[in-house]
Symmetry: C2
Subunit: 631 residues, 2 copies
Amino acid sequence: MPLGQRAGDKSDSRYCGVEVLDFPAGDGLPAVLTHSLSSAFDFLLAPLVDPDYRPTPGTVLPVAASDLVLSPSQWSSHIVGKISEWIDLDSEDEQLRLDSELTLKQEIAWASHLSLQACVLPPPRRSSCANYARVVNNILQGLTNMQLWLRIPLEKSEPMDEDRDQSDIVDSWEWWNSFRLLCEHSSQLYVALDILSSLPSMNSLGRWFGEPVRAAILQTDAFLTNARGYPCLSKRHQTLLTGFFNHSVQAIISGRSNHNVSQVAEGVLSGAENHTADTPIRHTLSPYLDYIAYLYQRMDPLPEQERFEPLMDNLEAQTYETFEKDTVKYAQYQRAIAKALVDKVSDDEVSTTRTVLMVVGAGRGPLVRASLQAAEETGRKLKVYAVEKNPNAVITLHSLIKLEGWESMVTIISSDMRCWDAPEKADILVSELLGSFGDNELSPECLDGAQRFLKPDGISIPYSYTSFIQPVTASKLHNDIKAHKDIAHFETAYVVKLHRVARLAPPQPVFSFTHPNFPKATNQRYTKLQFKLPQDTGSCLVHGFAGYFDAVLYKDVHLGIEPNTCTPNMFSWFPIFFPLRKPIYIPSESPIEVHFWRCCGATKVWYEWAMMAPSPSPIHNSNGRSYWVGL
Amino acid sequence: MPLGQRAGDKSDSRYCGVEVLDFPAGDGLPAVLTHSLSSAFDFLLAPLVDPDYRPTPGTVLPVAASDLVLSPSQWSSHIVGKISEWIDLDSEDEQLRLDSELTLKQEIAWASHLSLQACVLPPPRRSSCANYARVVNNILQGLTNMQLWLRIPLEKSEPMDEDRDQSDIVDSWEWWNSFRLLCEHSSQLYVALDILSSLPSMNSLGRWFGEPVRAAILQTDAFLTNARGYPCLSKRHQTLLTGFFNHSVQAIISGRSNHNVSQVAEGVLSGAENHTADTPIRHTLSPYLDYIAYLYQRMDPLPEQERFEPLMDNLEAQTYETFEKDTVKYAQYQRAIAKALVDKVSDDEVSTTRTVLMVVGAGRGPLVRASLQAAEETGRKLKVYAVEKNPNAVITLHSLIKLEGWESMVTIISSDMRCWDAPEKADILVSELLGSFGDNELSPECLDGAQRFLKPDGISIPYSYTSFIQPVTASKLHNDIKAHKDIAHFETAYVVKLHRVARLAPPQPVFSFTHPNFPKATNQRYTKLQFKLPQDTGSCLVHGFAGYFDAVLYKDVHLGIEPNTCTPNMFSWFPIFFPLRKPIYIPSESPIEVHFWRCCGATKVWYEWAMMAPSPSPIHNSNGRSYWVGL
C-alpha cells in the first residue's frame, strides 16, 4: 500500500519496504510477507539463502523458500533479495574469497530464477573493494533485467582490514565511486543507503542526489522518540528523507523496534497463534512506517511543470503549449517596455511623440500585446512593426489584430527579418530569441542583423544576457547518453529537466552579449572558469555541466533561469546539460577548471568545451562536428 | 645524406636536419636548400610565411617561396614547415588570439598544399595552452597526411603569463600532456624537443622515450668545445642523443654557430658570390653535423633480434625459425637437467640406476637432445619418453632419433599428454610451455595434468615461474590499439617488442607457480601491486603494463626475460603488453596501484586487470570477454 496519494507523484518513492532480519526457515516467508503487506508495507528485503550456508560440493543451496511458495508476481513485486552478509570478497583469506565468490554467484542465479527485480549486495567491508567489484562486474555482464543495489552506510566508515590504522576512516561515497568505476558505470548497478543516527554534512549528503540511489534503508536506531513515545526523526533526517522522496528514492525500514508503543493495539509477531483472523497483529515496525507515511504525505504537491519528465529528444513538441501560457515571462517584457517608453518619451512629449517599436519574431503576437499594454499603461503613443517569417503565425497575427482593433497601431511584416527593408528606423527593438543557455538559439546573430533597423540611440529589449554553468553529478543522464554508444551524443548539449542531479558548486557566468552591438564586435567567445567545491563535500564525480541564462530586459527588469536569481513561476525554459565524455573524479578540495568556447563559422555556430583541472579532458565537439546551430 | 650506415637501422634517426633561422625572402629558399644538402644535411626546418605578416583582409599570404621554386618531391622530402613563432593563442589579448588562429590555419593550409610531411608548431607560451590545443585539434580533424610536431623545450620553463608568480615553473612535459589529452591522443600529433644546455634528471628525461618524439632540435648553445676547438656534447647529452637515435628520433641542428672552426675550409654563406662550383662553401653548422654523425656512427650495431619489429598479429609465424635456434635456452635446460640427475643418482648408483625422464611437448626434439647431453655429461643412465601431440613434429622426431642412434634410450609417444596412459612413473618431467608472461600459455594446467606420471618425489623442470609487470608510457602502442576502434583490443595482451616505451618503475612479481603441485591447489590468482615512481620523474602518463617472466628451471638455474635478471642472448620471448583502455595520468610522486587476476573457468583461462590508484579504471576483460586461452 503506497505511503499516500501525492498529486503527480508516479515515482517509486511512494513505496516503503521492510527488511527481514531473521532467516525465515522452513516455509516462513509467505507468512512474513502476508503479515507485512497487511501492515501496509509494500515489499520485503529478505534473505534468500540460509546465512549459515558455506559452499560444499554436492549440497543443494539451502534457500529460504522454494519458488512455489509464492506466485511469480509475488516474487517479482514484493521481494527484494538480500545477499548473504558474511561474504567477504576482499579478505586476505583466499578460501573465504573463493567461497564468497561462489556463494554470491549462486544466490544471484537463484534470484534471477525467481525473476526478482533487485537484489541488495552487502556493504564492502574493506578499504579496497576491487575483488568484490570484479565479481559483481562479472555477474552484471550476464544479467538481463535484475538490478543490483550495493548497500552503502551513509556515514564515514571504518573498514575491517586487519592491517589498517584505527584512524583510517573511509568516506563511504569513495567505496561506491570505486565500485562503479570498476563496473564501468553499469546501468544495472544502484545504491541502497543505510541511514544511521549520525549524518555527515549536508554538502556531503548532497552528492548522493546525483547518484543512482534506489533505496534509503532507515535503521530504527536512527529514530528519536517524541513526547508521546512515538518514533520520529531529527530535522536533518527529515530534510534528507524529503530530499530522497523528491529524487524517487524509496524507504525501507530496518532493525528491531525500539518503540513498543501501545502494546495492546500492536501485539508481537511471535508464533502468530494468539490472534484471530478479525484482529490481525500489528507489525512491530508499524509505528515507524506510520511516521514515514506522515512525512511523505506532509510534502507539498508537485508543481504542475514538475509532473512530466520530458524525453530529451522531443521537448519542443511537449512544451509548445506550455510556452504560450507563460504569463510571467510576458509580464516582465511589459514592465521592461513600459520603462523604456518612459525613458524615451518624457511626460511633456507624450502627446507629440510616437515611439516606433519593432517586434522581431512576433510569432502569434504575445510581445505585440505586451508592447501595446505597456503603451497604454504609460500613456505613450506607439507604432508597432511585427516582423514574422512563419506564414502560419502571420495568419493568426492578422486575426488577433483585427479582433483587438489594433489595425491603426500595428503593421504586420510577413518576412524574414534578414531580408526586410524597413521603411523607418525603430526606437525600440523587442525580441524573444533566447534559449536555455541564452545565446544558444542564435539571438546574438539575429539581433546583429536586426540592429540595422535601430536608431543609433535605440534600445534593444533584451538589453543583455549571460549564460551560466555549474558542475553536476548526473549519473542517470550520463547513462542515458552512454546508451547511444557513440561520441557524438557526449558532445551534444541537452535541454532537459534536471531531476536526479547533485549541484556541486554555485553557477558562474560564461558568455555575455549586449545589444545593440555598435560597432559590431565578434560573437565568438572564450571563457575559463574555476569552481571550488565546499570543503565538507568530500570527493565527487562530475558528469557534466548544467547551464542556465539570465537576461536583462531593460534596466532592473530581468528574466532568467539561473537558480539563484531565477524568475519565479516561469516555465518556458528547462536547463541545458553539457556532458563530459568521461566523468571526471574530483578529489576533495581540488578546484575544477573548465573552458568554454562559442565558435562562429560561415554556416554554423557551436560550442566546444573541455575540462582542464583536475585533469584535461579531450576538447568536446571539435569543429562543431557533433552539435551546432545552422546560420 | 644519412648520418652513416648502421647495420640494420632503417629508422628516421639516420637523417639530420637544420633549422633555417632567417626568413628566406624572395626566392632564397632553393639556394639555402642546395647549400644545406650539399653540406650533408638531409632536410630543412624552414619558415613558410614572412614572420612580419599579420592577417589583413584582402592581402595575399607572403609565403617564403611559391610552390614552383621547388619540385613536389623536394618540398615533401626536404622541407619541414616551421609555423610562425609570434602566434600566441592563449594570450589575454583577444585580437592577438584571433589573428593567431587565422594565421595558424592559413599556414597549415599552405603547408598541406605543398604536401609537406610535417610542420613544427611553436612551443606553448602560457601556463595554460587550452585554446592553442583547441585550434590545433580543429586542424587535426581535417588533416589527412601531414604530421604536426609540437615544439617543446626539454627543461622546466617559465610561461610568459603577465599575472604569474616568477616562481611558477612548468614541467614542459605537462604542456605536452595537456595538449595531447585535449587533442584526444591524435595519431598525427608528435613532439619536437628543443635540447638546451641544461638537462633535467635522467628519470624525467626517460618519460620521453614512451612519447611520440619525432625530432630532437639541438641548439648550438647546448654544445661544449673540445680541446681542438671543435663542438662536442656533454656525457649526459651524448647519452640522451644516443637514446633518441635508438628510439627513431632524428636530430635537427639549430642556432648560430659558436664554433668558427677553420675559417679557410669553411667560409661563410654571405651572398654566395665568393665561391666557385668546384669549392662549395661549407655550411656554418657543418662542425655540429660532423659531431652528430660521429656519435651516430659510434653506436653499436643493432643486435640481430632487434632488426625486425614484428607486427603484433603474426608474431609466431615470423619468429618460428628463431625459436629453434635459441641455443642459450636449451643450454640452460641442459644445465638444469644435469643438476637434477646428479641429485637423483649419487655417484655410487650410476651403474645400477636408470633415471626415467619424460619430455612433455617434445616438439622436434631440442629438449630430448638437451636431456641426453646432460646424461652424457654427468655419466647418468637415462630413459626418455618424448610425448608430442603434433604428428608432423613426431615424424621429425623419429628421423632425429634414428639419425643420432638414440633408439635404445628414447621412446616416442605420439599422443596428447592429457590422454596418455604412461607405463611407468617418471623421476624427472621436462617441459617448455612457458609464455612471455610465464603462465599465459597454460603451463600450470598442462603440468597439473602431466604430474600424474610423476613419482611423489619427482622433479619438474621448470620447478617454478613468476610473472612480472611494470608500468610504462607507450604512446605508439596505445595509438596502434586505438586504431581498431573497439574495447576488445584494449582488453587483450600483446606479445610485442617494446621499442618506443618508457619504463617508469622496476618490475614487480605478479603470479608464481610451483611444480609439481601436490596436493593440487587452484591456479586462480589475485595480486595487488603498488609502484612508486622515482621522485625526480615528475608526472607521467601510463598506457599499460609491460609483462615478463622468470623461471627457476632447477635450483640456481634460471631462465627469463625480466629485465633485471634476464638470461642474456636469448630471443625466444618478447615481452607482453597489457594495455589500459584509457591512459592514466600519474601526478608526481603518486603511487600506482594495479590489481591482476588470473581466472579459471570450465573451458578457458584469462586475466582481468584494473588500476586502483591514483584512480580506479574499469575492470579490463571481465569474464574473459575479449581475451582468453581455451582449455
